[in-house]
Structures are given as structure tokens and as C-alpha cells.
């Protein structure tokens, strides 16, 4: 009965209530869509991290990452690979030799991370071949081939076919260098990596480092994301002396950015709802003041304060919640309509790729976000209900009736 009464009460001032209901709907539509876009960005970023950059898991010698000293190898490529492949859930694995050094051409030089790969397994694990924008992906028969990132290529003015010299120290702490021929230029979503990572063949790098048959890093792709923690445990048991890390540990900033991206979107929804809450409080206060006499009369007749409170809270909730499903529904529809991606490269290409974000947005409205939004809306409704409800129960029936 109180619910019926509350429902009819909110329609006493149709325009006023509709304005509030529509504001909530529009606010939530915008809020939910922003959350979806940000969520999409975060998920996309994580996909990129896992599928193109870090893979699900990485294995290193525990000391390797401190200084990238070539002597800290993870082990023999063949035995590492054989043991890892045997673990259920592993989709693909690639073993790399890695060192830091200088890359120079006739006129310029730049610090680089040299990654020695085995092209077939590398491509299977990170899809590197797909990011080639000029030249080829390690063609047969070329001596000492090297792949250079677009950003670095521009910086050093390097083109496919040029020669470059790599210089670094080997396991004996001797400076060593080798001439490489640029066979291709690649471009990834993450422009920072494009400026530092160069790819050579693992056996070429191993020869220079004097680490034949060894690898510094194993990158492992799993059949799905949920296996990360369990496979990590298994691998750690197999390789007690090595460091097994998940993508989150290898790239904590990606995880952080992804989390913060989603959280900042949720904060936006909170701000939208706080703004709306003021409008709702105002409307409900007006509704209570206009009905002073009537509320006094209800109390005189025998409506207890608790019930009066409930009635006002119901009214506020209805006012707030009626618009919410519409807003969410329209947001959902908007997300469905933009499934093919929103290309914002025209405005934001450079800035986004600096942080490893793609310039095409794929909004995702997950149930998780919807739940969070609903919780926020309910809190806003509760918050908005407090003042008007207190105002109502403070009324004294005699005074209210005398008005």
C-alpha cells in the first residue's frame, strides 16, 4: 500500500518527476557508456599485453632482470621447451635471448634491447609477423637479419635493407659487435616498445653473447587467462631455481592502468549520480513541503513515523530507480551498436599509443560494471532519501494541519 501511495505520489507533479527520471536515465546512459568505453580500453590493453607483448607467463633466471647480464641464462632452450610444453594448458612457448646494447648506423646511434628469437615460435606466441609494416619477417637466406621498430627506424633514419651495427658485452664481459641487415620494420600498438626493441635471430645473438643453445627468457601463452595462476604454480615447481612471473608481475603498470581506467570511469558515474542526487533531494524536499498538510493529516490519522519514512524513501527510490533501467538499456544498445569499434585515431592516436592503448575503442558493458553502477544508483537514492524523509518525520501533526 505504501508502495502504491509512493508511486502515485511521484506522478502528482508529472513534469517535475519526469525531469528527474529522464536526468537519471541520461546520466546513467552517459555514465554506463563511459564505463563501457573505458572497460573496453582496459580489456583491449590487457589483450595486447598478453597476446603481443608479455604473453601469460615468463620465466627468467632470478638475477637476469636486474642488469640484463648475459650470463644469467634461464637454461637450455631444448630442455626448457620440452618441460614447459608438457604442462597442460600451455598453448605455445617461445625462448629468447636478450641483451641490452647500442645500435648504430653511419650517422646515429641509440640504446636498444636486442631480442634474439626463433621466428616460428615467436610468431605463434606473440604474432610478431602481423606487425611488420615494411620489408619481411626474417626471410630465408639473409645473413644476420634484424627487425627494427617504426619509431626507432624514424629516429635513426633507417630503412629496410640498411645495415646497422649492434654493440654489447658478452658473458666474458668483452665488448662485442656484429653487423645486421634490416629486413623489416614493425609497428606495434605500444610506441615505447617500438623505440627500443629490435629483433634478431636467437642463434645469431647467442653466438655473439657466447651463450650457444641457451635462452634468457621463455614466454608462454596459455589456452585461457584463467589458467595463469595454476600453471604458474606448476612451472615454479618444475623450475624451482628460476623466476616464473605472470603478465601482471611482468607488466604491473598495464594491470594498474587497466584497473585505474575502469575505476576512473566508475568514479565518473559516482560524480554524475552525486550531481543528480542534489536534484532528487531538491525535488523530494519540495514534494514534502507541498504536502505538509497532508503529511500532518496522515500522522494525525495514525501513520507511524516509520511508515512515513518508508513512504518517502519509496518515493525517492522510485524517482531514482525508474530512470535507471532505461539509461542502462540505452547504454547497452549504444554499446551493441558500436561493437565494430569507435575509431578515435583522428583525435588521439599519439597520446593513446604512448600508453599502449589502441586508437580504436571497443566498448564493453560487463555485468560487473552494471552491478557496480546499480550499487552506486541505489546509494545515491538512499542518500537523496535521507533529508526529505527526516524533514517529513520532523513535522508535527497539529502544526502541519493548521497551515
Amino acid at each position: 500500500m505504501l508502495l502504491t501511495l509512493a508511486w502515485r505520489n511521484i506522478w502528482r507533479n508529472k513534469v517535475r518527476s519526469l525531469v528527474i527520471i529522464c536526468s537519471v536515465a541520461v546520466g546513467l546512459w552517459a555514465g554506463a557508456f563511459i564505463v563501457a568505453v573505458y572497460d573496453g580500453m582496459a580489456k583491449d590493453r590487457i589483450r595486447t599485453v598478453i597476446q603481443e607483448e608479455v604473453s601469460h607467463l615468463q620465466i627468467h633466471h632470478p638475477a637476469f632482470k636486474e642488469d640484463f647480464e648475459p650470463k644469467f641464462v634461464a637454461g637450455d632452450v631444448d630442455s626448457l621447451t620440452a618441460k614447459i610444453v608438457a604442462v597442460p594448458g600451455v598453448k605455445s612457448i617461445t625462448a629468447r635471448s636478450i641483451t641490452r646494447g647500442m645500435m648504430a648506423n653511419a650517422s646515429n646511434s641509440s640504446g636498444v634491447t636486442v631480442i634474439g628469437i626463433e621466428p616460428a615460435s615467436e610468431n605463434k606466441t606473440t604474432g610478431l609477423q602481423g606487425r611488420i609494416i615494411a620489408g619481411d619477417f626474417f626471410p630465408e637466406g639473409k645473413r644476420n637479419p634484424i627487425l627494427v621498430g617504426n619509431k626507432l627506424a624514424e629516429k635513426l633514419n633507417i630503412k629496410s635493407g640498411n645495415k646497422v651495427v649492434l654493440t654489447f658485452t658478452n658473458t666474458h664481459n668483452n665488448l662485442t659487435s656484429g653487423a645486421f641487415k634490416v629486413v623489416g620494420i614493425y609497428q606495434s600498438i605500444n610506441s615505447k616498445l617500438d623505440g627500443t626493441n629490435v629483433y634478431v635471430l636467437r642463434q645469431n645473438l647467442n653466438a655473439l653473447l657466447t651463450t650457444p643453445g641457451k635462452a634468457h627468457e621463455c614466454a608462454i601463452l596459455l589456452n585461457n587467462d584463467d589458467l595463469v595462476d595454476s600453471v604458474k604454480l606448476q612451472l615454479q615447481a618444475i623450475f624451482p631455481d628460476l623466476k616464473v612471473e605472470t603478465w601482471r608481475q611482468v607488466s604491473p603498470e598495464s594491470d594498474l592502468i587497466a584497473t585505474y581506467t575502469t575505476q576512473s570511469a566508475i568514479i565518473m558515474v559516482v560524480i554524475i549520480m552525486i550531481a543528480l542526487a542534489f536534484g532528487i533531494v531538491n525535488t523530494m524536499l519540495m514534494a514534502v513541503l507541498e504536502r505538509t498538510r497532508e503529511i500532518g493529516m496522515l500522522m494525525a490519522l495514525g501513520l507511524k513515523k516509520g511508515k512515513l519514512l518508508t513512504m518517502i524513501i519509496f518515493e525517492t527510490f522510485l524517482l531514482t530507480l525508474v530512470g535507471a533501467p532505461f539509461g542502462l538499456l540505452v547504454a547497452w544498445a549504444t554499446v551493441a551498436l558500436t561493437q565494430d569499434g569507435i575509431d578515435i585515431s583522428a583525435f588521439a592516436d599519439k597520446g593513446l599509443s604512448e600508453y599502449g592503448f589502441s586508437a580504436i575503442l571497443y566498448p564493453i558493458l560487463s555485468w560487473d560494471s552494471v552491478y557496480q553502477i546499480i550499487v552506486i544508483v541505489v546509494c545515491a537514492a538512499l542518500f537523496s532519501a535521507i533529508f526529505p524523509a527526516i524533514k517529513a518525520i520532523r513535522l508535527k501533526p497539529v502544526e502541519a494541519i493548521r497551515q
Binding site: L5, E294, M299, L301, G302, K304, K305, V398, I401
Partner: protein
């Protein structure tokens, strides 16, 4: 006879600190079951204040009020609300009804608060609507009813909770003389047939004529209290 209201030495002072107004001053009043009593007096004489005190809407500064054997003077607020719900019927001068509820729902409302079953409510509402002659207005909204019809629904609602007595503060003040007389007819009928006690305040001499007891207030004091001779119908 059974005493339903026993007001003992009751006083109400407004603004006791600044300019005190002795709205009700040392009033003794006994009302017995089945009375049909008018409270009269000039404007500002304290009629509304006294009715509010008797109805437990306001608290006296002095004296005590006993309703049907229960002292309500120091009752807790929520207890008092419950007491009003179950013991006292109210009819106000205007804006009596909840505008978003139909005639039937307005009457039913109070029974819902009392926790009556659907069957009980339906039966009682039908009976009451018939008694006030508005069976055809069951599902009409208050705004579609005339002033007189609204007051009749208010009387039915006051009756719905089966109270000890009904307090009506100038129930006819906003009505034309025909509607006023119709309302009085209904009240008198309910008084006679259901032995319902009515206490109503009024300025209207034609309404006063219908009362069987007239209590006159002047400056918050009872100046006369007379049983009047009733011409039977």
C-alpha cells in the same frame, strides 16, 4: 453511562515564554458514549486547540486527559499515534482525503494501517459507502468529488477504524447549507444507529441546532454546557 472522554483541569498555553496565549484554560469536560456534542464559541476561543488535545494531537501544559480509561497525557509519541489510529476518528475542516487515493482507498487506508484483512476491509468499505450514500463513487478520486461528498468520505474514513469517538473540527465550514445539512444527517444517523460519539466544533447556528449537547468556549474557558431538547424526526 460509560465515559469516553475525561478531560481534567486541562490547560494549553502557547508561547509560554514570550507572549503567553491561554488557548485552553482549566477545562473540565466529560463526554459519555453516544453523545452528539457541539463545541461552539467565537473565533479564537480555543475550539481547535481543545479538540486537538482531546484527540491526542497536542499535549496540555496542565491537567490530564483520559480516553476510555487510558491516560494519554504522557504517552510516548509513537504509542500515541497507535492510540489515535485505534481509538479516535478525525474529520478536519478541509483537505481531509489523500488526493491520490480513491474514495474506497481513502476509507480502506486506515484499516490497512490497523492490519485488517482484505475481506474485512472490503465489507466495511462497502457498508460505509452505502451509509454515506456514495456507493456509486467507490473508485472516484477526491478531486472528482464535491466538497460535501469529500466530507462524507472523511466521516466514513473516521468511522472505518471503529473508534471510541469522532472529533470533527468545523466539518461544515466549507460547505453550502444543503451539503452541511446532508453531512449532519449522516452524522446524526450514525450517532443514532451505531451509537457513535461525535464531538464537533462549529460556528453555524443550524448545525448547533442539531446537537444534543452544546459546550460553549470563551477565551479558553467553558462558559456554558447545556443539553438541548431534540425534536425527534
Amino acid at each position: 453511562m460509560e465515559i469516553v472522554i475525561d478531560a481534567h483541569n486541562v490547560s494549553k498555553v502557547y508561547n509560554p515564554e514570550t507572549i503567553p496565549v491561554h488557548a485552553v484554560n482549566n477545562v473540565h469536560l466529560h463526554v459519555e458514549r453516544g453523545e452528539f456534542t457541539a463545541l461552539v464559541g467565537p473565533s479564537g476561543s480555543g475550539k481547535t486547540t481543545l479538540l486537538n488535545l482531546l484527540g491526542g494531537l497536542d499535549r496540555p501544559n496542565e491537567g490530564k486527559i483520559v480516553i476510555n480509561g487510558t491516560d494519554i497525557t504522557d504517552m510516548k509519541e509513537n504509542q500515541l499515534i497507535d492510540f489515535r489510529l485505534n481509538n479516535i476518528g478525525f474529520v478536519f475542516q478541509s483537505f481531509n482525503l489523500i488526493p491520490v487515493l480513491t474514495a474506497k482507498e481513502n476509507i480502506e487506508f486506515i484499516m490497512l494501517l490497523q492490519g485488517a484483512s482484505k475481506k474485512q476491509r472490503d465489507e466495511r468499505v462497502q457498508t460505509l459507502l452505502k451509509e454515506i450514500g456514495l456507493s456509486d463513487k467507490t473508485n472516484t478520486m477526491p478531486s472528482q468529488l464535491s466538497g460535501g461528498q469529500q466530507q462524507r468520505v472523511a466521516v466514513a474514513r473516521a468511522l472505518a477504524s471503529k473508534p471510541q469517538f469522532i472529533l470533527a473540527d468545523e466539518p461544515t465550514a466549507n460547505l453550502d447549507s444543503k451539503s452541511a445539512s446532508d453531512l449532519l444527517d449522516i452524522m446524526a444517523k450514525l450517532n443514532k444507529e451505531e451509537n457513535m460519539t461525535f464531538i464537533f466544533s462549529t460556528h453555524d447556528s443550524r448545525v448547533i441546532e442539531r446537537a444534543r449537547r452544546v459546550v460553549t468556549l470563551v477565551d479558553g474557558r467553558i462558559t456554558s454546557d447545556t443539553a438541548t431538547f431534540q425534536i425527534s424526526h
